[in-house]
Point group: C2
Chain length 462, copies 2
């Protein structure tokens, strides 16, 4: 196998994402981007664009590394550099069947988001998609969580975009605007490699023999500190491997106006919009629990000035009472707003390792036969993750094409069959909804309910 | 989980295909079909066809069953009936990007053939593909080997076709022309279930603790009986999960004329065509070994009159000297012809279990850490599988569309990075070539070499 002489150790926090991945729980983050092609683009625009970009072989080091072969039963602990990188494999050209509506695009995105990345290669794929009936094109990108979390993936995307519609030399999705060092970024000296190894071994020491046991203890400890109790719902069940994905944009101004009128924060309004949609959806499914749903709201702890290659998964978590038991939208918004303020006071930061152990525990029922039905019998720590990821504040362009939408597609775990992740994009808020295909029927209905919830909040605060 | 009360045991021979499957070794067989649409078909023909077919919910029992949850560490031993079958998931509508050549179709087929089937659902997928620039459409179908082997899959395909271009009520790919019994085909009585369990447990008893050890002993025993020694080649290496697929048709008459002129059988001529192509390819790759390549040629042992639901994997194997060390096509054909006659006299039938154990052994290096590099250090029992699967002898139609081609896509294993499977289809021979994307570069070149080899055989025997 190539590149093994230079095998840098993978931090435990990253390798865990490879270790806990199963067929039912792909551990990649995705993003769907919608573009308006530059004026005068012909029918072969996308093909030409792809061929031009493929000539750019200046690949960011992150996108050249692949998992080295397993060095022990704890999983893949090392990265190797892929010295036979096959860009044609990673960067693909695809098309929509007729009639080429957004519906066909979401269907295709759902399929792509359901399949595992090839571990013999760098852990990313990008698809250029033609055939939308309105003449636009799309790009679906997929990166393993061991490489980049959702926040870092979106930041990477922004780094290849431009504010200038006339700039036609934007980097490809695997590129970077900064010149790449000629050598490798990986530590090549013996002592550096040994240092890395020692650190990894130390991190492993405490958890290797019984990760599941430690994970469930972490959860128990965590639960004692939780200010809220989440009800059991249809969303908190074991999941399958197939996904559904839905996406839509709303004007940021509408959320801002509600925030101004109500005195709540924009994020509170967004959570209230989700809460209203979840309530309507669960009523429609005859599955609304009596007590309110609890959302886990991740908060990035990464310094905004950190623009290095480092790509940790540094997140804190707030738990939020979504007030889904209340029929009045204004009351719901008030409850959410209060819950978020309380949460900030009580703010308890989960360490990245705790979050990872929590994830490991969630998939344990499938890996560890001693605890079948674990997810079914344990109350969920929260009902849904609702994540607001920073995106570009102005309209951006990529080689002359205007970026109309960025819709994040997330990771699901057992017990968490639905995820809402959104981002700001110029004057819009772009929502991406990822659901387990089996557990969350009629996922598209959530888009209608989000629209209704926003309108109700407008009426209630006008 | 649904349907567990009625869990029929899976024969060990079938469950092995689930047990040995890894991300690097998907265990499904595939087929690419090319169709000329009926006259007067409009641009929405395929979409309408799909919607019409989706209304047909008469599903063959085989395509309703999914693996039940693992009952022990030996893997999935039971089938469950999927009582929430989601046909919309299994039967998909896709499109080719521009310019919509066969090249784009093969690229898309390669991607589909590389991904794993979802084990939470019945183990099959069918894709209808539009966007070919010559107005034709394609269908790619994929079935897990635990359900159907290549021969049975092709026989199933034939069963839904018609010789009549005017018949517009052909069944969908999941259907059947025979009426389905109202009840379930699985044994539901306690005693029948127990009998099944006992048989499975007995089959497992001898192999459970150390399947790898038994497998390598089976191989050693087998090798002693092998009349030929296969050289090490670039085709006999550990493989990755990504595939390339190439396909082309040649007129059956050309092969028949060479057979008549030379006195060899048609199958000998086909093998000589493959041998010539492999020789040219390996020369081009500067990897032609001094001693001749050995092909494993599977022979179906299934009775042709067996049209029941049974779907065993019953194959014998002939080893054939491909004479790739010889530069003269006529000499190569003579060697192949002699080798096949010798093989038939020496005919040694591998039991299905032996074949399976051999497969298990091939993937062992990845599963069993004690033997890394196993494939690299052991001479291969043969260099390539070349399989000729019976197809329809006349031109067939499916709901008015003429079947122009049937190209089989096969399973690869460690040590076997290339597979050639062909079938007859009316007046043509349709070749499907499946290769590991990393180990077999420029797979498409084999099509050119096959064409050259056929022309050379014609010149040599004219």
């Amino acid at each position: 196998m190539r590149g093994e002489a230079l095998m840098p150790m993978m931090p435990v926090t990253d390798s865990m994402f490879l270790l806990i991945e199963t067929r039912e729980h792909p551990m990649h983050v995705g993003g769907l981007q919608l573009f308006t092609p530059p004026e005068g683009a012909g029918p072969d625009h996308l093909r030409t664009l792809r061929e031009d970009l493929l000539r750019n072989t200046d690949v960011r080091p992150l996108f050249r590394q692949r998992p080295a072969r397993p060095v022990n039963t704890m999983g893949y602990l090392g990265w190797a550099e892929d010295d036979a990188l096959d860009l044609d494999y990673h960067f693909r050209h695809s098309a929509l069947p007729r009639p080429g509506r957004i519906r066909e695009l979401l269907e295709l995105t759902s399929r792509w988001h359901s399949t595992l990345l090839d571990r013999h290669r760098p852990l990313w794929e990008v698809h250029l998609v033609e055939g939308l009936n309105d003449g636009r094109f799309a790009m679906y990108s997929k990166v393993h969580h061991a490489l980049l979390d959702g926040v870092s993936a979106l930041r990477h995307l922004q780094s290849i975009l431009s504010e200038d519609p006339a700039e036609l030399s934007c980097p490809p999705p695997w590129g970077s605007r900064r010149p790449q060092p000629a050598g490798r970024r990986v530590p090549t000296s013996r002592s550096a490699l040994l240092q890395g190894t020692t650190r990894v071994v130390r991190q492993l020491a405490g958890m290797a023999p019984a990760a599941v046991k430690i994970a469930s203890e972490a959860l128990r400890e965590q639960r004692l500190t939780l200010p809220l109790q989440a009800p059991r719902t249809m969303l908190n069940v074991p999941i399958g491997g197939a996904r559904r994905f839905a996406a839509q944009s709303w004007p940021l101004a509408r959320v801002r106006d509600i925030a101004t009128a109500s005195g709540a924060s924009r994020n509170d309004v967004i959570l209230a919009m989700c809460a209203g949609a979840l309530r309507d959806y669960l009523i429609e499914q005859r599955s609304l629990p009596d007590s309110p749903l609890v959302a886990m709201v991740p908060v990035s702890l990464r310094s905004r000035t950190d623009h290095g290659e480092a790509h940790g998964n540094q997140v804190g978590a707030l738990l939020c009472d979504l007030g889904t038991n209340l029929s009045d939208p204004a009351e719901r918004l008030a409850v959410i707003s209060r819950s978020m303020s309380d949460g900030k006071r009580l703010f308890r930061q989960l360490s990245p390792l705790q979050i990872l152990l929590l994830s490991a525990m969630n998939v344990a029922p499938l890996a560890a036969s001693p605890v079948p039905g674990f997810v079914n019998n344990t109350p969920p720590p929260f009902n849904i993750v609702i994540s607001n990821v920073p995106g570009p504040s102005r309209r951006m362009y990529w080689n002359g094409a205007g970026l109309d939408g960025i819709y994040p597609a997330s990771v699901l775990l057992d017990g968490q069959a639905l995820n809402i992740t959104l981002t700001n994009n110029g004057d819009n808020l772009d929502f991406g909804i990822t659901g387990c295909r089996r557990s969350v029927p009629h996922l598209q209905r959530l888009l209608i309910h989000l629209d209704t919830a926003l309108a109700e909040l407008e009426s209630a605060t006008r």
